[in-house]
Each structure stands twice: as structure tokens, then as C-alpha cells.
């Protein structure tokens, strides 16, 4: 059995212009996208799980401008990732103070879900590559962002 990127994300889970200015708002905004398509059933509970983790670990922001807030919760129905781009940047606690402009919210359900986790891991790995980040920053629509992700992950 194999799964494709469509199983974990899609253009409807991409926001190219987040309104949020804080980490909590950004996570809540992206969780809203997940909730709309039924991948998260209890948005508030899920956001709490993610933010608790952020606070405890000092944030998932990285110096390359990426943040990968994530959490496992029974409020998640299906392993998913929502992507948001912020024009102003949001503080996710990167070591050198870099504001995150590429935010991947990773949602994992309780229990075992190896296939999806593998796919999410592969996506996380791609974020290390400068070229991929640039492509994400330059994509001009949600569809274009999704196409970029799809192309990169399915290579």
C-alpha cells in the first residue's frame, strides 16, 4: 500500500498570506484549515496541544525561517500538514530571533500511522534544502505551493 501527498495535504490546506502575528494565532489559523476539511475535530484542543509543546521546547522556529509546530492529539482524524506563509513573519522562537515565514503545522492522530508519518518525515527533510524553501516563498498561489510540495516530496 502506498500513499501520496494528497493524503496528507492539499491546496485547501495552504494559506499564502497568514493574517496571524503571533505563534498561537498562526497555529490557530492553520488548524482552522484542517478543521474545515474535517482533519481536526476539536480545533481548540489541538491548538493547545501544539502550543504547549512549543512553549515547553522553546519553539520550533529555525534560523532558515521555517517553523514546524506539531502535535499528536485525539482531535486529529488523519495525519495532515497545513502550510502557511507569512509576509511579516511570526516569532516561533528561532535561536537567532529569525521570524518564521514558512510555517508547517503537522497534525498527527493518536495511534500508529506509519505510512503517513513517513511521508511527513520526508517532507520535513526537504525543508532543509534552500531550493525548496525558495520555491515555496516564490509560489504565487495555494495551488502553486501545493504543486511545489508535491513535486518535491514525490521525487
Amino acid at each position: 500500500m502506498s500513499i501520496s501527498i494528497e493524503d496528507v495535504t492539499g491546496p485547501e490546506l495552504v494559506s499564502t498570506d497568514l493574517a496571524a502575528t503571533t505563534a498561537r494565532e498562526a497555529v490557530d489559523e492553520l488548524a482552522g484549515l484542517l478543521e474545515q476539511v474535517g482533519r481536526v475535530t476539536d480545533r481548540a484542543a489541538y491548538v493547545d496541544v501544539v502550543m504547549a509543546r512549543e512553549e515547553e521546547t522553546g519553539g520550533t522556529g529555525m534560523e532558515s525561517g521555517i517553523a514546524i509546530p506539531h502535535g499528536k492529539s485525539p482531535a486529529v482524524t488523519k495525519a495532515s500538514v497545513a502550510f502557511g506563509r507569512s509576509i511579516t513573519g511570526v516569532d516561533f522562537g528561532a535561536e537567532d530571533g529569525t521570524q518564521a515565514d514558512l510555517i508547517f503545522l503537522i497534525a498527527a492522530p493518536e495511534g500508529q500511522d506509519d505510512l503517513h508519518v513517513t511521508l511527513l518525515s520526508r517532507l520535513a527533510r526537504k525543508l532543509i534544502h534552500e531550493k525548496f524553501r525558495t520555491a515555496l516563498r516564490e509560489a504565487d498561489s495555494a495551488d502553486a505551493v501545493f504543486a511545489t510540495i508535491k513535486q518535491e516530496v514525490e521525487l
Binding site: 529555525m62 532558515s64 485525539p74 500508529q112 511527513l120 518525515s121 520535513a124
Partner: protein
């Protein structure tokens, strides 16, 4: 330069993978070779021993514990947090290169990030740590329990409970084939299964002890632990003896590791000193553990030998819970052991009394995790799948992971379910002419249908109780942490 690296993080989805990718990239760009082991949820296979031996330095980019760090003990290393590896992979590679040139493991470049405090996993309390050791031992033990239990059950079912024990298939060092013994073919085959299953069962305590010690002290713990477990077996110190032998072996090896040594002697430690010195004193565990354990075994025996047998007596049940807590054994396991002993004495007619009890604890937990998935964490659910099968086969050990993880809620639930089934099956006058076997020996049960109903009711009682009790803990997220922090994996995400 050749590097080996381990990355790990509590969730194991993102940071460990990103750190791995970053290190691979940076090493390649700098013209080095690197092999990375991701100890995460998806997990990469462990690095070959040959590769580790050929490496010049190790890099640990970890927010959680490194599993089997022992393997890298001879290498100079750099240790950082995953974030640092992601943000500054090139720097880390450069530092590891410097460490490799600085020379052997005697002077490691320990470079732990000062800026961020370690996550909760590394700061696990003593209680959680002990629990993790025990759970590691139990998880390695379970395959032996399942193999042994089911084979023994199958042996009784096909060959007859008394008959199979009367055929010995190994005599004077020779295997006796079907034609060599004076017994029907099925009895002979049952005896074969009984012998194989018995061997598997015999490994239960040694494996438990060995892998408790392994969890504590890595690979050098295994030999002392297993030897201690074998001795526990030999003197009948049982499950508890195994626990103590394992803990003691692990502690001894950990003490040995603290002796400061250098150079050649340091390299000799894991191959010569730990096994030899570690194994000899672990033997001492027996005298003490057998003494404590025997005391604990008296009561189940007396209880079982009551001729009328029906005793949902709250005071005694409290005793039993106490026993379960202190001796790492539920009352059902006491019964199981008794039954085995009786099998040895070939008094099969006695086996039938209230025998459904062994089926409940494990099956109840299988049912529990199905009916209320949110109350169980990942490893508990996995154990639940196995518990169904084990419970149905009268292998009470399926409940051990649950009892060990959450004794105050689990053991009373098990006792209640077992007491109900026991009382019911006695009042239904159910009998069973096999000492063991669960649903596999249903053909040997007198009054089988009521007996099965009694089991089902007991299972429901256990299930309901344990879920109600565990429901009380859902507010208390910290309870999740009590269950095997490392294999549970996603603990940090809960909090």
C-alpha cells in the same frame, strides 16, 4: 572523514529527520562520508557495526535519549540538540572533524548545548526510569510468553492434558519419534509441542532479567541479566526473582562503567570486564529474591486449595492487590503458576475450578483499548492487540504491560473481573481437564457455554472498570508519562 550520526527527538516526525538531512547535506558538501540513524517514529535501520567501527567520529543530534549509545563508545563524539544540527549543520560537521582529529574516545569533545534546557525525556524521574527498564524487559519477554503459552495450550488440546505429560520425547539424549513411544500419534505430537512450548516458557524469566539489565546498562547488561534470570528460574524465584536479577545486573554493570580507565583497558571493559565481573555477583540475587518470592506465593496456594473455592471476599482481595503490587504479579498469575505446578503433579481433575480468571485480565485490556482508544497511548494499544490473543489462551501475562504501567487502576480492575468470572464459573459448576489453554481447550471443558459466558462477563467487568478508572486520569496528562517514555514516543506532544 567518516562520520556516524544518531538523531532523535520525542515526536520523531520532524526534528530528527530534518537534523539527519541537514547533517547528510553538510557532510557531503564538506567532502565527508556520513551515515545517519534516525531514532524516530518512522525509523531508519540501525547503522551496521562494521560502519561504526570504521568511523572516525560520532555525532549525536538528539533531544531524547540515544538508544544503544554503547555502540559508539569507542568514538570521539560531538553531542548537540537537533535544532543546532538543523540550523548550523556545517559547524557541527566541522566540530566533529576536529574531534576526530583530536583522537580517541579517551578525550571526547563533549559539546552539549548550553542554551536550551533538555526536554522532559532526559529529565525523567527515577520512578519513570525504573518503569522504562521493566517495560523494556517485558516487551522482549512477551514473544516467549506467547510462543510458549500457545504451544502448551495446543499440546494439551491435541494430546490430552494428562497424557502428554507422561510422554517424554527426549530420553537419554535421543529424540523419541512417534514410533518410539508407546502412545498415540496425537499424544506424541502434543508432547513435542509441550516440550517446545516449555522451553519457550523457560526463557521467560531469563529474557526478562536480561533485557531489564539491557535497558539499564545497554549491551553489557544482557549477559549478567540473563544468567541471573536463569538462576532465578533454577531456584524457583520466578517472575519477581527475574525482576530483581535484572535490576541488580544492570546496576552492577552501571557501577563498573563508572570505574575510570584509559586506553587499552577501556577497550577491554565491554568485551571482558563487564561480562565476567558483571555476571558473577548477579548470582547473589537469588538468595534474597527467592526468599521474598516464596513468602508471596504462600497465599495464592492456600486460597486455591479451599475446597469450596468461591470467595469474592473484599478483605482478601485487598490482600491480593497488595500482593500484586509488591510482587509484580496479579492474583491470576499466582493461580496460573499453581496450575502449572499441579500439572506437574498430574492431578488434572483439580484444574477446572473457576479457571476463566486467567482469561479476563488480558482480554479485558484488549477490549479496553478498543472501546476507549483515547485513554490509551500508542504502546498500550499495541500491547492490547496481543492481549486479546493471550487472554483467550489463558496467558495472563498479556496484562503485565498494563499493570506495570498503571498498577493502581489496572490491578483492581483485573481482580474484580477475575473474581466475577471465578465465582460465576464455580457456581455454574464448570470444570476443565487441562491446566492451561484457554479457548484452545474448549473441548475439554465441562459446562462449556456457561463457562464462556462467565469469561465474557468478567472481561466486561474488567473493561468497564479499567476504562472508568482510566477516564479519571485523562485530566492528568502526567500519567501518560508513566508509561515507557521512549517507546511511547509521542509523550512530549501530549504535554
Amino acid at each position: 572523514v567518516k562520520f556516524v550520526a544518531v538523531t532523535s527527538c520525542p515526536t520523531g516526525i520532524a526534528h530528527s529527520e530534518m537534523a539527519a538531512e541537514a547533517l547528510e547535506n553538510a557532510a557531503r558538501e564538506a567532502g565527508h562520508e556520513i551515515e545517519v540513524e534516525v531514532q524516530g517514529a518512522a525509523g531508519a535501520p540501525p547503522i551496521d557495526t562494521a560502519t561504526i567501527n570504521a568511523a572516525d567520529a560520532a555525532i549525536f543530534a538528539v533531544d531524547a535519549m540515544v538508544r544503544e549509545k554503547e555502540r559508539f563508545a569507542h568514538l570521539p563524539f560531538v553531542e548537540v540538540r537537533t535544532r543546532e544540527a538543523i540550523d548550523k549543520a556545517a559547524d557541527i560537521i566541522a566540530r566533529a572533524e576536529a574531534a576526530a582529529q583530536a583522537g580517541p574516545a579517551d578525550k571526547p569533545v563533549r559539546d552539549t548545548s548550553p542554551t536550551t534546557p533538555p526536554e522532559k525525556e532526559t529529565g525523567a524521574s527515577r520512578g519513570e526510569e525504573i518503569r522504562r527498564w521493566l517495560m523494556t524487559g517485558v516487551s522482549y519477554m512477551i514473544p516467549f510468553v506467547v510462543a510458549g503459552g500457545i504451544l502448551i495450550a495446543a499440546a494439551f488440546a491435541m494430546g490430552g492434558a494428562v497424557e502428554v505429560t507422561e510422554v517424554s520425547i527426549i530420553q537419554d539424549g535421543q529424540i523419541q519419534f512417534a514410533g518410539d513411544v508407546d502412545a498415540p500419534f496425537l499424544t506424541w505430537l502434543g508432547a513435542v509441542f509441550l516440550t517446545i512450548g516449555g522451553q519457550a516458557f523457560g526463557m521467560l524469566v531469563p529474557i526478562l532479567a536480561g533485557f531489564i539489565a539491557y535497558a539499564m546498562a545497554d549491551r553489557p547488561g544482557i549477559a549478567p541479566g540473563i544468567v541471573g534470570g536463569l538462576i532465578a528460574n533454577e531456584i524457583g524465584a520466578g517472575f519477581l526473582g527475574g525482576l530483581i536479577a535484572g535490576l541488580l545486573a544492570g546496576a552492577i554493570v552501571n557501577l563498573l562503567k563508572k570505574i575510570p580507565v584509559k586506553g587499552t583497558i577501556k577497550r577491554m571493559m565491554p568485551i571482558l570486564v563487564y561480562p565476567v565481573i558483571g555476571t558473577s555477583p548477579s548470582v547473589r540475587s537469588w538468595s534474597w529474591s527467592s526468599a521474598t518470592d516464596r513468602g508471596g506465593q504462600q497465599r495464592p496456594v492456600r486460597l486455591d486449595e479451599r475446597p469450596d473455592g468461591i470467595e469474592p471476599d473484599p478483605a482478601r482481595d485487598r490482600h491480593r492487590a497488595d500482593d500484586g503490587l509488591r510482587h509484580g504479579r496479579t492474583r491470576q498469575q499466582g493461580r496460573l503458576r499453581l496450575r502449572d505446578r499441579r500439572a506437574g503433579r498430574r492431578q488434572p481433575a483439580d484444574h477446572g475450578r473457576g479457571d476463566g480468571r486467567g482469561d479476563d485480565p488480558a482480554a479485558g485490556h484488549g477490549a479496553g483499548h478498543r472501546s476507549a482508544p483515547s485513554l490509551y497511548n500508542e504502546s498500550e494499544k499495541r500491547a492490547g492487540e496481543a492481549a486479546w490473543v493471550m487472554g483467550a489462551s489463558f496467558i495472563t501475562e498479556g496484562a503485565i504491560p498494563f499493570a506495570a504501567a498503571d498498577p493502581l487502576r489496572v490491578i483492581p480492575s483485573l481482580m474484580a473481573g477475575s473474581a466475577v468470572t471465578g465465582a460465576l464459573s464455580l457456581s455454574f459448576n464448570a470444570t476443565l481437564n487441562a491446566p492451561h489453554g484457554g479457548i484452545f481447550v474448549v473441548g475439554l471443558i465441562g459446562n462449556a457455554i456457561p463457562y464462556l459466558i462467565a469469561i465474557a462477563i468478567g472481561t466486561v467487568v474488567t473493561t468497564l472498570l479499567v476504562n472508568v478508572l482510566k477516564g479519571l486520569r485523562s485530566e492528568d496528562e502526567t500519567a501518560f508519562k508513566l508509561f515507557d517514555v521512549r517507546r511511547g514516543g509521542e509523550v512530549a506532544a501530549h504535554a
